[in-house]
Subunit: 416 residues, 2 copies
């Protein structure tokens, strides 16, 4: 019998009524003859409630104890879902990560999965049981509870699916798939039936936040077919229909042979950029600027350094807008004195727009078409960064929606 892993997010598990709906959906798959493992998140709001309690006790809670605390949210979910399935007459059993066990390293609050022992789960499945496993968590070698960090339930689901060689991992969420861009910005945005793993990586990290990035990496490493689909449909819609809905992250290279060159337009509104002017162009300078930023635990996204003139260059990087003031403080207090550079120029009102597509590997002229489209609308490009399958530009935030719309149209993404 084919094994399918289902993952349900916090919204889908948000109340006992919704948990009963999840149970109906899972039971439908089980009735159709599939072996089912379910990985649910904590009920929506629960993880925040727990972390709020921790912060009332201690401004910077100890990571080990924070994991001990936060992991209870998913344990509540799995027990309630097991009960809901039992009330439908299904044999179901729940496990916390440590019971499986899902072994991780000891990096509390951001642990990485090292191994999954599937013997117990396999025996339950073979006995006809539906198995429910806590997302987001595991235990280290010494038996300490660890969590994988926010959104880690996606990673748990894909990891369990990979370890058990499931046929497919279904990530049920409150969107019905991955779109060519955000439908709230471009009404013609179209749902993609498939994306490649690489495209999904770029789409996820660039702001189309459908799947947690580490779960996509996991899916990629293990070539685990993973489908994003809606948990908001009637749980009793025909299984055939549901099984083909959403967006499948595919590992078949030829999936895209007949498709458009460009897969989608990703964007991220809340960016900020910092430029250190007149930096002496010598080895180690990038580290001297970004080292203190990394130490302050600020994620740097785009990094651009241009050709130097007279031994000096300008060094620009972007950070999430939330971290802008902190990043600027770090630069002002450490970097300037350290490298004796000139002025610091910064702007916290910028956005990033990216064109993504595996197809651009084999097509020329994508970049020039992107730049021409933007220039025709009078949109100035402040920064450019490219990879094999995407081109990102930084622009004034007030033009962001316009840029996404015109690029979506220019690449014909509204056409199936």
């Amino acid at each position: 019998m084919a094994l399918i892993v289902h993952k349900y997010g916090g919204t889908s598990m948000g109340s006992t009524e919704r948990i009963k709906n999840v149970a109906r959906r899972v039971a439908k798959w089980h009735d159709a003859g599939y072996q089912i493992v379910v990985v649910p998140s904590a009920m929506s709001g629960e993880t925040n409630r727990l972390i709020g309690l921790a912060k009332e006790v201690m401004a910077q809670p100890d990571p080990r104890e924070l994991d001990m605390l936060a992991s209870t949210g998913e344990q509540v979910s799995v027990a309630l879902l097991a009960m809901a399935l039992q009330s439908l007459g299904k044999d179901a059993v729940s496990y916390a990560g440590w019971q499986v066990p899902i072994k991780t390293d000891s990096a509390y609050t951001k642990a990485r999965i090292q191994s999954i022992d599937d013997a117990k789960v396999r025996a339950d499945l073979d006995a006809g049981r539906i198995v429910i496993i806590t997302g987001f968590q595991g235990a280290d070698e010494a038996g300490n509870v660890t969590t994988l960090g926010r959104g880690g339930s996606d990673t748990s689901a894909v990891a369990v699916a990979a370890a058990m060689k499931a046929q497919e991992c279904l990530i049920y969420t409150d969107v019905d798939g991955v779109y060519t861009t955000d439908p709230r910005v471009v009404s013609e945005a179209r749902r993609l039936r498939t994306v490649t793993f690489e495209e999904m990586l770029e789409m996820a990290s660039l702001g189309s936040k459908v799947l947690q990035i580490r779960s996509v990496e996991f899916a990629g490493n293990y070539r685990m077919p993973t489908r994003v689909l809606s948990s908001l449909t009637d749980p009793m819609i025909p299984l055939e229909e549901e099984a083909n809905s959403g967006t499948l992250i595919s590992f078949e290279e030829d999936t895209h042979m007949e498709q458009a060159t460009i897969t989608g337009i990703a964007f991220s509104r809340d960016e900020a950029k910092i430029t250190v002017m007149q930096v002496p162009d010598r080895p180690g300078i990038a580290f001297q600027i970004l080292g203190p930023i990394a130490e302050a635990n600020i994620d740097v996204d785009m990094i651009v350094q241009n050709q130097s003139v007279d031994g000096k260059t300008d060094f620009t990087f972007t950070v999430p807008r939330n971290d802008y003031q902190r990043a600027l403080d770090v630069v002002n207090s450490n970097v300037k004195s350290l490298i004796g550079s000139g002025n610091i120029v910064s702007d916290s009102r910028v956005s990033k727009v990216s064109v993504v597509g595996v197809g651009m590997r084999s097509h020329v002229g994508i970049a020039s078409q992107m730049f021409r489209t933007l220039s025709e609308e009078g949109i100035n490009i402040q920064l450019i960064s490219t990879s094999e399958i995407k081109i990102s530009v930084l622009i004034d935030e007030k033009y962001m929606e316009l840029a996404v719309r015109v690029l979506h149209k220019a690449f014909g993404l509204e056409k199936a």
Copy 2:
């Protein structure tokens, strides 16, 4: 260094502010040079909230999943308390029952502790850490989470104290000790500085609900000195004062040599009695009446069967008033036809009053003094049941307070 186990109830852990107070108190003991293990309950209301969720999902929740669910309440508590201690500069670590491990049988929702491995805890203590262990729970041989049932945190604390040969187990609660009777009924009621294990058993099971009965049994089996004291005092009162407050359950037989004959007056208001009249007096009849009651999971308390007359006798038992109607239904539907007995007589407005004291072993006339005192007030005794260290009577509930007051006075309990 002497080891002390502290146990804090749900009210003491009821908010992050209160948890900080618990931490201050624990830190005070640690500062004084004691090794400390803390066993807290779930935050007040949390266990009920979780069980409420379960009942929304399933009218009769599966016991294994219920334990999986309910055990999260204490896990939240231990993590928050560890953080609170850390914020006071203490090295502290929390463990769930399965991490210690505390091994139990597999009787979900009412498991019994089988063994406690103290190696990990001992190592932490020796390294100067305060160790916090979830109350109420453990894991069975197969690694399933189990709970000990309501009030089980007391049992956990005493069991941990016994396993680790602690000097004393301190049960912090919202009363400041065990009294000669309920001070709300008799204002002259006096706090007992010590009670014997046997007296505590009788006091606890008879309604002075200070300690869970199983924890008292545990204390008795392991001769673990256990003190009930208040968690409502200022956490920074001098340790000497706190260490001698409350009531100590003692295992020194001679503690009572100089004390009064009677230790206290216990009572239980919400009783109900059922009498099966004209029962044929033959072997097996008690089982035929009470078997169906036990199968319905109803606790029977007093059981009285008198000398038969003409081969017939009357058989009376009491049940908690909450179970009265159910018990009566069971008797009416099963028992009557089964044994062909006469009428069923029942009364749901009765209370039990008991005189308790190890001293009565060596004193005669206690029973007659009790009966005379009640008769002088015109209180009719409906049922009498005795053990070595207590005499219980069942009376009309409207006389309960009066009976407790006059007995308290008759035995001079207001005098130290």
